[in-house]
Chain length 325, copies 2
Amino acid sequence: MIDITLLGTAALMPLPDRALTAALLSCGGHGILFDCGEGTQTAGRRARANPLGVDVIALTHYHGDHTFGLPGLLQTMHAMGRQAPLLITGPAGLREAMAPILALAGHTDFSVALEPMPEGGLDLPERFPGWPARTRLAAFPTAHRGPSQGYTFTLGREGRFDPDRARALGVPQGLWRRLQAGETAEGTSGPVAPSEVVGPPRRGLKFVFSGDTRPCPALVEAARGADLMICEATFADEGVAEAINRHGHTLFSQAGAMAAEAGVQRLWLAHFSQAVGDPAEHLPLARAHFPAAECGEDGKRITLRFDAGSAGGEDLPRAGTAGPR
Amino acid sequence: MIDITLLGTAALMPLPDRALTAALLSCGGHGILFDCGEGTQTAGRRARANPLGVDVIALTHYHGDHTFGLPGLLQTMHAMGRQAPLLITGPAGLREAMAPILALAGHTDFSVALEPMPEGGLDLPERFPGWPARTRLAAFPTAHRGPSQGYTFTLGREGRFDPDRARALGVPQGLWRRLQAGETAEGTSGPVAPSEVVGPPRRGLKFVFSGDTRPCPALVEAARGADLMICEATFADEGVAEAINRHGHTLFSQAGAMAAEAGVQRLWLAHFSQAVGDPAEHLPLARAHFPAAECGEDGKRITLRFDAGSAGGEDLPRAGTAGPR
């Protein structure tokens, strides 16, 4: 189960009813914040999706509308007594970009690590004990101005467990969870391998956060089959497509086209220019390509769950996925 | 006429319905912003009191809740096409405190001057052509942690003009304004000095912004006879007065006592700790000392005007005081 809250939908500057684009992901009681513009901490409180406890802040790039909320957020984390180490990640230039931000934030009682995303992504439970198994954060390059990247978050799903087979092999029920976790367990006729009772991994959950970008193949590739794609759609006016793309941004229509090409389940548009008065008016431009497209709204929230379809098998309850805080 | 809008009333961290404490002053179409925490630009838009055009940003000190909105505000000013030079002033350490902020803000098409307040205050029309005559911004030391200061803004008022006397001396009506501005004008029997037709300067208008401070004599002195004092009242609990004061803050009761001692016309409390749930509940603590005390609220606005009382004289309309933008 993944809980996603879109904290804001504005581009460039915060508006009274439109905070800067950022999203909070919560999974198994742990969190990741995607971008942090001025006012993100307030937008979080307003949406009752508090980013103070996240383990990771994943920055898509270093423009002010995606980073100027960091000094205040770090100070608030400190003021609220945070002790847990924080990881801030982002594209090339992270250390240089964070220098004035950390200088402003000053001392914090918790440590702040600045680390690029590893090739192949970050295994979250390996890096932060307590994260649900098979959770991974990965970055992909996008096409904005200067270094930029988007992110995928995936929650893998173990194969289907066959309790009848486990019983037949004489594995006591207390050891089933061990088998599902990939370990062998003792049956009545000797060791039983996981593959004997657990099917192949099933489709998990995937979330994609585009950051700022012009339409680009890497985003489509990263978004393939995602359950939710939050995609920037800075402008709606088709007449200025070339200029907008040259500026490293995407149109409503182009976001829809990418979502369709990537075969995502859901598309939320975000990062609306101040010039986009009411995003809903322009939604048909995206829906022409991807009928399920929705406009993002500050505080819009969704819980992504595994497909039901467990006929013929059984889902053991997973430890550590007690839901978002 | 002075227009004051309180943009926020929070301390330390912005809350969903309480922006960080800052105030916008507007006079004759020109403006001064007092403090700029994270979210001040949004609070301004929300209050329809846009700080983008101010000539001066007057910082009371350099803690994050009073300064972290600057990088975003400067970028928004730039994005909106500002060309006019901006003055940022504050207590000792201004240049060091602003270094990371200006580094974050990056290039702006307008110049940013960092200047301490001059002794005796800043003559605004002298520094920024177009400000109404007799407007002055001055700083006074306060008692917070580290360098800190509060501000007074004064709008002086010319003496009463005696039209009967001017007529008797044969000064054509077209020259009256010159006399009131302090210049001589030709009458039927020779030059007429201003003092012959203009009385002594009258009581003007005064606004005081405390910034963060424990109760201190300099604030009381600066606030004497002010038309409006916005005073920090971070905490209400009398039981922790000593600790609060040691921390450089003021209680509701102490703000009231200072206002009473200074003989101000109006007191607005602000800079409420998160621990102060509903400030109105604690207002009686301030009113016990100063019955007219009011709680500040985000967006609270007042227009301060000269006293009526013009019997026996006449106020010539003043150029350049067309009211706030």
